[in-house]
């Protein structure tokens, strides 16, 4: 007696195709597109989904989670300063107190919990997909993103002349990390500019990142490390509290922008 039930190769192919096509069809036009599946992008995705906002995370890598898998110097303990540990409580991730106001958690545990929490809430994730450009509408408002398969970018243009596709949305969240790719795309058109990251010099850098999270351009919210390079804020080192809280703030700003009332605290 075999362990698994029968399914033909063709049926497996059709199942993959059907699932993927259904998802892509749904988020070809969605409310929010989050570019970048690191901690801030995933937190924003979860918060939006919990508030009933349709959203999709575009991630260029196969793996989701960005730098959240590891802490500093390739060591996989990640650190968070209070009150960010409260978010770990929300997603059911264990952690330990290291010192007053500083908490540690294993990166793989925290990262996988965050991915699961975002998807459990209803966020969609499109990985191996690179952001190529923005879609502009009246008054140059950003109204979507242009995407392509990540492997296409890695091959010579002569071999892979693959046109990208576009997804429409009401709001884009740039959670692409230090590169701030969405803002860069606006910058190339002379519509926005990045200040670039400042030096790592004071204790309160994380506060500054959270407080600067918000609309950076009509139709674009910046979150996470994109905030640093957009506004020239001091880098903060590999501590992730600001990433989670910035993602949360980005979702709050997006809800306001979409004219939605946040649901009561769960």
């Amino acid at each position: 007696m075999p362990i698994f039930g029968e399914a033909s190769e063709a049926e497996v192919t059709r199942a993959i195709l059907a699932g993927f096509t259904k998802d892509l069809g749904e988020y070809a036009s969605t409310e929010v597109i989050i570019v970048g599946g690191g901690p801030s992008g995933l937190t924003a995705a979860r918060e939006l989904a919990l508030n009933g906002v349709r959203n999709v995370v575009i991630e260029r890598n196969n793996y989701i989670g960005g730098g959240f898998w590891i802490g500093g110097y390739l060591m996989n303990t990640v650190t968070l300063r209070s009150p960010a540990q409260k978010y770990l409580d929300e997603i059911g991730c264990p952690y330990k107190k290291y010192s007053e106001n500083l908490y540690v958690t294993p990166g793989p545990h925290a990262c996988s919990k965050l991915i699961a929490a975002a998807m459990d809430a209803g966020a969609k994730i499109q990985n191996m997909t690179s952001f190529e450009d923005i879609v502009l509408r009246e008054k140059n408002r950003v109204a979507g993103v242009v995407i392509n398969w990540t492997p296409v970018q890695a091959l010579p243009h002569e071999i892979t002349c693959v046109d990208p596709i576009a997804l429409e949305c009401e709001l884009v969240i740039d959670a692409t990390g230090h590169d701030a790719y969405v803002i860069q795309a606006l910058e190339k058109r002379g519509l926005a500019k990045r200040i670039g990251e400042g030096g790592m010099w004071i204790e309160k850098s994380e506060d500054a990142v959270v407080e600067h999270t918000g609309i950076a351009y009509p139709g674009v919210v910046v979150a996470g490390m994109s905030v640093c390079s957009t506004y020239g804020l001091p880098r903060m080192g590999p501590t992730f509290g600001a990433m989670l809280l910035s993602g949360k703030r980005a979702a709050e700003v997006a809800l306001k922008e979409l004219g939605r009332t946040p649901k009561k605290k769960r």
């Binding site: 506060d207 407080e211 009509p218 506004y231 020239g232």
Partner: protein
């Protein structure tokens, strides 16, 4: 400027004739600071310089009721983009203006991490002053959470605890961030940052407790008294700081120097005691003359 001594000057009537002793002094609260008692700072200025003092609410909340967005834009335009280069005038981006708007709407919020060009920031404030009080007859000292810096001869910006001008600003965050903490603090911080991937600030601070002024430090009011005095004496005499490290007008570049000048010594050098007494006398005589 640590260790720098300005030569003592004769404080005869010729010097004081050029002074601008204000007929009134206004101090502006910093609502983001939980430990700053501005009434005590005011009392100190009355005692030390005989000035007539008034404490008002937060400067920007008081004078920026109209067109907040324009003010937010003007403040954002004073941001220092590169601390290693002289100030570059750049049109602020949308999000920077929104950030300043949020800060204007919530004056209790304190968000260090951004450095503003001190003198350009003062210019923005000066434009907000009521016309009737925009003269050297009125001394304005605003307490602020924003960190202001000035570009120095060494080719970089330095954060400041106080920026003297018109008005003058004492930065409550600058008092924490501008004077350097003990050198060992930075070594421990760097080692822990490398080992942990993050800086456990509270753990790093523990061995150095008391050796520097921290956010919401109970000693803040006492330190702020000294900086308010620096701003007042600058306004009156146009002399910046004192070279005597035991004088409250000494502008320490290290927290240890600041603590020595403001807390341990807590007094003025003999020369500045005479200056203070003279200012006090002038202020008293002026008030008496006004009465008659």
């Amino acid at each position: 400027m640590a260790g720098w001594r300005k030569p003592a000057r004769d404080l005869g009537s010729r010097a004081s004739a050029d002074w601008d002793v204000p007929s009134s002094t206004v101090l502006y609260r910093d609502p983001s600071s939980t430990t700053l008692d501005l009434d005590k700072v005011s009392e100190y200025l009355v005692e030390t310089l005989g000035l007539k003092c008034e404490v008002r609410q937060n400067f920007l909340s008081l004078y920026a009721e109209r067109d907040r967005e324009a003010l937010a834009r003007a403040i954002a335009a004073t941001r220092v983009r590169n601390i290693l280069r002289p100030f570059e005038q750049i049109e602020p981006i949308y999000g920077e203006v929104q950030f300043e708007l949020r800060l204007l709407e919530e004056p209790t919020k304190r968000v260090p991490g951004v450095l503003y060009d001190g003198y350009r920031y003062l210019r923005v404030m000066r434009d907000l002053l009521p016309r009737a009080e925009r003269s050297l007859r009125v001394l304005h000292i605003a307490f602020e959470h924003r960190i202001l810096g000035t570009f120095d001869d060494d080719g970089r910006y330095h954060a400041r605890a106080v920026v003297c001008g018109y008005p003058s600003v004492v930065s409550t965050s600058g008092i924490v961030e501008a004077p350097a903490k003990p050198a060992a603090y930075y070594r421990v911080k760097a080692q822990l940052a490398l080992a942990l991937g993050a800086v456990p600030f509270d753990a790093v601070k523990e061995p150095f407790k008391g050796q520097f002024i921290d956010y919401d430090d109970p000693r803040l009011t006492e330190v702020a008294r000294g900086y308010a005095l620096q701003a007042a004496i600058y306004h009156i005499t146009k002399e910046a700081f004192c070279g005597d490290s035991a004088c409250r007008l000494f502008n320490g570049h290290w927290q240890a120097e600041m603590i020595t000048a403001q807390l341990e010594s807590g007094g003025l050098c003999p020369r500045h005691e005479r200056v203070a007494a003279e200012i006090s006398g002038l202020a008293r005589r002026e008030r008496a003359a006004k009465k008659h």
